[in-house]
């Protein structure tokens, strides 16, 4: 801030910022809940991915639905786009600001409003942290089933926006199966209730449309989540293999045998070494790959399933099979799996995490292909994935300071996506499309498909002010952010 600016602010006081948008937002919320300084706006330019949206516009911290409505209406009157943000742990750039939009940070909307055991649901605000919700439910014997690796920090609102998954979604289903109703605010400030507590609500399933819409249909302000009963018994197995192919074949074998494990996760040797270095959970660092498999349910019969998995592993050349002997051991193994992405900084300061899904039967082949692609582009790849549902997470590791490295990373990423689609897979398992995979949408969808998605989006947001520039590929109206820049990008300094 220049001296002149400082003096000007001192004289005129904070309430007159010289910017009508800012003044109106501050009047609707409060002075301290609308931030505009450059430090914060550059900070919110990024999420946990490699994408940088540049400086955001004003950052608002509402605490009520009414305040969200007010923000939407003010933004509309100034023809500004709006981007929601939770904990900023997204991996596809879904929450980054494009064209200096108004940011609605939901971190202060973090109350668990009601626990309704009769209906088996809880009403929560979007800023509630996923793991906080589960911890809150634990004494009652429940949990929130979707458990993304980032569950200790990610918000329920973000889970809804991305239809997040997690290791235990193999048996329990992803976020969409655990959200029964949503209060949402559209870009024009209308408040809608989507879904409901009835087992089969009438009419179109607009709740289902909203879950996974990545903020492009509006922002959720209250969520009714399903309560899932805690499991009476759990067995966690750690199987070691000399290569990822054997691990992948074991996963297919388990499913083919009719077992429905709660989770099946594979990590290759490189990532296992990084993880073990952090958690000291006893992961074998000399194995080519490890499979973490978990079965749960009533005590009776659970050991039979665990033994069958062990046998299928041995039939697929497992070199070692270990049963977690205590809750502490089990927790340490899961901590390792869930912090895998962050642990890679021991090797290089940057990572690019992919998220494609392939048919389970093609897992081993696609993995081989991914290692070849990485070699071809001279990048280091690690594989850690939700093997049970074929959700791959190839992790490309690099040092962004190396000239030209990002080009190679993006080229390798493109080839990985192509390989996954060619194998009959899809673009995203759980991280969403964001800005990351827009350009691949037309490989998966026909122009007709995309046109209908575009119309659906416009039914909620006719002027494309809800998180524009995301999901739908360029060339479709709401993706074309250039049109939306009615103010120059530098207007905020």
């Amino acid at each position: 801030m220049s001296i002149i600016e400082r003096v000007r602010r001192t004289i005129s006081g904070p309430e007159s910022s010289g910017d009508p948008l800012l003044d109106e937002l501050r009047a609707a919320l409060s002075e301290d809940r609308v931030k505009i300084d450059g430090a914060q706006r550059s900070l919110l330019g990024k999420d946990a991915s490699v994408f940088d949206g540049g400086n955001s516009g004003p950052i608002c911290y509402p605490t009520t639905t009414d305040e969200v409505v007010a923000i939407m209406k003010i933004a509309e009157s100034h023809d500004r786009a709006v981007v929601p943000r939770g904990a900023g742990t997204g991996l596809a750039g879904g929450a980054i600001p494009l064209g200096a939009p108004v940011v609605i940070a939901v971190t202060k909307m973090n109350q668990i409003l009601e626990i309704d055991e009769d209906n088996g649901i809880a009403w929560v605000e979007p800023g509630v942290i996923n793991l906080d919700l589960t911890r809150h439910l634990t004494p009652l014997g429940y949990h929130f089933a979707p458990d993304p690796s980032s569950q200790q920090v990610c918000t329920i609102g973000g889970n809804v926006a991305n239809n997040s998954g997690g290791p235990h979604c193999l048996a329990y289903g992803v976020t969409n199966s655990h959200v029964v109703a949503l209060e949402v605010v559209t870009a024009s400030g209308d408040v809608l209730m989507l879904g409901g507590l009835d087992a089969e609500p009438d009419g179109y399933d607009l709740r289902g449309v909203f879950v996974g819409s990545e903020g492009t249909l509006g922002i959720t302000t209250k969520v009714a989540v399903r309560l899932t009963r805690n499991r009476p018994a759990v067995r966690t197995l750690l199987l070691s293999f000399s290569n990822t192919r054997d691990a992948a074949n074991t996963v297919s074998g388990v499913v083919a045998a009719g077992i429905v494990p709660a989770a099946m996760e594979v990590m290759d040797q490189r990532i296992t070494v990084a993880v073990e270095n952090y958690v000291n959970a006893g992961y074998p660092t000399d194995a080519g790959a490890v499979l973490l498999a978990e079965v749960d349910g009533p005590e009776a019969g659970i050991d039979i399933d665990a033994e069958r998995i062990r046998q299928i592993g041995l039939d697929n050349n497992a070199t070692d099979v270990r049963l977690a002997g205590s809750e502490e051991e089990r927790a340490a193994l899961w901590k390792g799996r869930k912090t895998a992405f962050g642990a890679v900084a021991q090797i290089a300061p940057d990572y690019y995490l992919h998220d494609t899904v392939v048919p389970r039967s093609k897992l081993a082949d696609v993995l081989d292909e991914i290692y070849e692609i990485a070699d071809r582009h001279d990048v280091l790849v690690m594989n850690v994935f939700h093997a049970g549902d074929g959700n791959l997470h190839p992790l490309l590791i690099f040092d962004g300071r190396e000239p030209g490295v990002l080009d190679r990373i993006h080229a390798a990423g493109g080839d990985i996506i192509t390989a996954s689609l060619d194998a009959g897979g899809v673009l995203s398992g759980e991280h969403g499309i964001g800005v990351e995979k827009q350009k691949y949408m037309d490989r998966l969808f026909t122009p007709d498909d995309l046109d209908h998605q575009n119309r659906l989006r416009r039914a909620f947001d006719p002027v494309c002010r809800a998180n524009p520039g995301k999901v739908l590929p360029m060339g479709h109206s709401c993706a074309d952010i250039q049109q939306l820049r009615s103010v120059p990008a530098e207007v905020w300094g």
Partner: protein
Amino acid sequence: MDLKLDADDLNTCVQCGLCLPHCPTFRVTGDESMSPRGRIHLMREVQDNNAPLTDEVLESFETCVQCRGCEPACPSSVPYGYLMEQTRETLADAGHMTPTWQKLAFKPLANPTMLQAGSSALAVAQRLKLVPKRLGISEELPIRRKPLKATGEDVYFFTGCVMDAWQRDVHAAGMRVLEAAGIGSIPTNELAPCCGALHAHAGLADDTRNLAGTMMANLDPDKPILVDSAGCGAAMKDYGHLLGTEAAKAFSARVFDIQEYLADHLEALPTVQPLDLRVAVQDPCHLRHVQRAHQATRTVLAPHVRELVELDDDGLCCGAGGAYSVLQPDLSGDIRDRKVAAIDRVTPDAVASANPGCSMHLGAAGVPTIHPMELIDRALNA
């Protein structure tokens, strides 16, 4: 501006965000510029991109409690504490933070006579009701203190500055417990006037280096040094890093938290009837996140109280943070509210905390806080 941060240290952060919920200031504000990831981003902006040191950037750095709760949560082992200490040192040197009055305020800590005289004056003022509440001094300070006498020569008992002036009773209890375990101790008194932790937190690392030098020169290099203040113990265990010399590393290796040391000598204590209390363990951040020796508190308390209960907040900071509660009273109070709520959820009779700052800060909010050594001392003498 060059913050003099090690580029490799700074680059270990991959911005994954797993630290956010473990940061007390992010928890109470929901504002990412008050999170470790946000602060590291701003360090990079300032150091690598020459971003201006605006009021907001300085505020982000100044509001960090330096609890280091983010470090165990970080899968990439970012040395956040060092990054923040270096940032503050550079900014304090350049006159951007830690104003002169603060620099002066830390001086008496290294001078026991001055400190204790001042403390006695404060104690008198307290009785005359002249001490403002926001200073957070919950207990009645002693006007006079009984001198501590050596009970043997096995170990040093670090007495320090403020704690010796305000909570010498805790030292006395600790020395009695050690004695009961057959361990004779020498109180360090003026041999080691202050550990320098508060100076380092404020960016005055040179003062800390001087204090470390004094202490190392004055103490017999063969004896273990036991510390009953988690913040001091953490600072003294870090002399090896701070001074970078072999002698300092050897010194740091001889420093033990008193619970940590006693846990290895527990069998030497007589078996007694446990106190009829339900005690919640409040882990001081510098014991749990920095020294990572907090399990020992449970080991030594378990035989001496009826029941130990854990808080459900993942060891989140209480907001005391050395001088933080005075420098950032609003944030500090909001952070404490969360801690008090966590304590209320487990309905304890007392809260055990092995750090004077935490116990004063929680005490000021009406929480019955007591040092683990005092509980054990009571059980032994019941």
